[in-house]
């Protein structure tokens, strides 16, 4: 069972992403912000789904920090956010994000994206 790390400061979003992915057969672990995620990512994690606007460390900072570690250079990360600014999307893309989803997400499309990126 592949493990997905869901990072969002909203417990409802973490729950909704978690339910959608667990119904599709994934194991889900949660982090409440970027800093929490950095402490939880390990070799068993297959993919990250990350909010952008979060306290302590936002999603883009977390992504940029993550990529400085050689172990997580290619770990798939998809940003899931209410933001839709092209500048932010471009920044995430440059930092090595594999996708960008604007909330509210469609559960089946999210699951399809995860299936594709973890295949």
């Amino acid at each position: 069972m592949k493990k997905i790390l869901v990072i969002d400061d909203s417990p409802t979003v973490r729950q909704q992403v978690g339910l959608a992915l667990s119904q599709a057969g994934y194991q889900v672990i949660e982090a409440v912000d970027g800093l929490d995620a950095i402490g939880k990512v390990d070799a068993t994690v297959a993919m990250l789904i990350c909010d952008v606007n979060m306290p302590r460390m936002n999603g883009l900072e977390m992504l940029e920090k993550l990529r400085t570690d050689a172990r997580w250079k290619t770990l798939p990360v998809v940003m899931l956010t209410t933001e839709g600014q092209p500048g932010l999307i471009e920044r995430a893309k440059k930092a090595g994000a594999k996708g960008w989803i604007i909330k509210p997400f469609k559960a089946e499309l999210l699951v399809a994206a995860v299936q594709r990126l973890t295949a």
């Binding site: 409802t12 998809v78 996708g99 997400f105």
Partner: protein, 296 residues
Amino acid sequence: MAKTMLDRLRRTRERVIARVRQVNQTTETDVLAAGRHVQRVVEVAHRHIARLREVLAGPVGNEDSDLGRAIRSQSEHVRQHTSSVGKVVAEHASQVAAVAESVRSITAAARDIERLNAAARVLSINARIEASRSSGSAVFSTIASEMQQLSKAIAGANKTVYDLAATMEKTVPQLLRHSQHLAQVVEGYAHEARDRIEAVDRRVAELRSEVGNVLADSDNALAEVVSESHAALSKMQFQDVCAQSLLQIDGWIADVSHQLAADFGVRGDIPPVAHTTVGNDDVEVNRREAGEVMLF
């Protein structure tokens, strides 16, 4: 004047933030509870369908099930048994027919013996005539006497053979009829057994097909439950989206406050925004397109 406006804006922001937190807390609790309900529905559906699959696919739906194997084994046993009984009965009938033929041969042989005996009697009479012609020749007289005794003995033995053959000729056809009747009964039973086995096989195939249909329907129902659950999960995000929007309003009022303070050159008590955002641009997202996945 500017300071008063800044105070009013600050108090407005405080009220907005307090209201947002209050509403957010309430709706968040409700949304989380709804999410748990959705999950429970999916889990119950999953469990019931798994149980249904276990119950249905176990005894009938699966060819390797105990019941499936027992039915096949019993059918095969009956097929082999009726086939071997049929062969034995047919062999028996054939042997009885051979016996009937042998009895007819014995009767024919007895008739031949009778004819030969009649010839021996003629020879005995001739010997007696020769004995009287040759004035009581001892030799002819002895031959005539011996042949007469021999002829009587042969006639006696032949009568026994005749009687036995006659008895057998009466009995063997009865035996043959019984044998043929038995063969018919066995053949009828074999046909009936085959029909019943075929009926059982057909019913098992129908059941397996019905089970397959029920399981396929169940899988479709489960897929529908999961799909509905996904739709519900998608819609339940209203709380987070609303909260984000309200917190954005706080950010905009904070911006206005800073502009006012700068324009009028006053230092106001402007609290930081409740929810910091990475981007400051006010980009309106087309919500109809929200949820679409951009993969890089």
